[in-house]
Amino acid sequence: MSAEVAGGKSQSRWKLSLDTWAVLVAFLLALLVRTGVFKHIPW
């Protein structure tokens, strides 16, 4: 999907995909709910 580019050290080794970021954020939110930081989320 992404072309390999050489031209310096600008490419981060820790670059995560959008999917992975979405999973991490969702799990962080779930953890905050589980630990009681977010008690009630209105809708």
């Binding site: 999907m1 580019v5 050489a6 031209g7 999917d19 970021w21 779930a30 709910v33 008690k39």
Partner: protein, 361 residues
Amino acid sequence: MADVITVPQVQPVQPALRFLRVIPGVLLLAAVGYAGKLLEQNVGAYAKAHHWTFPNIEYVLWAIVLGLAISNTVGIPELFRSGVATYEFWLKAGIVLLGSRFLLGDILKLGGVSLVLVAIEIAGSLAFMTLLGRLFQLKPKLTTLLAVGSAVCGVSAIIATKGAIEADDEDSSFSIAAILALGALALFTFPVIGHALHLSDRAYGLWAGLGVDNTAEATAAGALYSDAAGKLAVLVKSTRNAMIGFVVLAYAIYWASKGQARAVGNKAKFLWQKFPKFVLGFLLISVLATYHFFNKEQVGALANLSRWAFLLTFAGVGLRTNFGEMRKQGLRPFAVGAIGEVAIAGFTLALVYGASKIFGW
């Protein structure tokens, strides 16, 4: 080093700056989505108070229509574009959080049925779109992109396949435009057909998950029918998404055998790279919910977080759909896409109808 492109050094965008750049667009998504929610609550009440006959229009449709109106009239200023593009991120986070509302047993039961239907849908759609592409004398790689886009999962599948088979940028733009335009049409036609045929929530959710290509549109088309149908549409669509790696790998091997794409080295690594990680997140949250890691109130809170994430997604679906831009991409690929989509919608409806008779839904 011969096959590595050397480019001049570009100053990387600082993460903090990138974060700041998306804020205006995310606020726009939130404003449009919330306006949709307010319209749902207030328009119905106003109509009732004035004794008007007015259908109950869900926030999903309001948010999409408001987004479409903005995108196709005043347009989206540059300042908001990178933030509006985050709608895919909210979609995937919302799907992961939605996993808390599924018990693992339900996923295995429904996933098993949907897996069989998904396999039939993918095989039928790939074959039909390939035939159609040949009939309309489209370029072979353009046909591949349209086939993968309609059979598996819309834009993500097209982007993944483009890289693997080394297709032209123009071909992928054509395919993405066709898939997005047809997805937008599906949003308005699927619920109407579902109601006309008196489909149950389960049958409709299955159909939306199988027949609508892009994940955001499939989620919205399901939610427009009912909450239960929306949940099922997400589950079925995620099952389709999970197949992306296998289909892309098959096409990559095919085009490499013709000497028109790079050979795939490590196939397991290729499959892992293409596998949508949010599907794993969805399953993991569901496992946690099944084993009571979250109590009832916490599951309710997670479900509401998922709804808020979807609210931003639905606003984004409207805001990023610009019919003028799509028209510029040309008529022929769109015609192939349209004929294919109508056929696939009919085929998947027949599949769901058959399954509903067998399983008594």
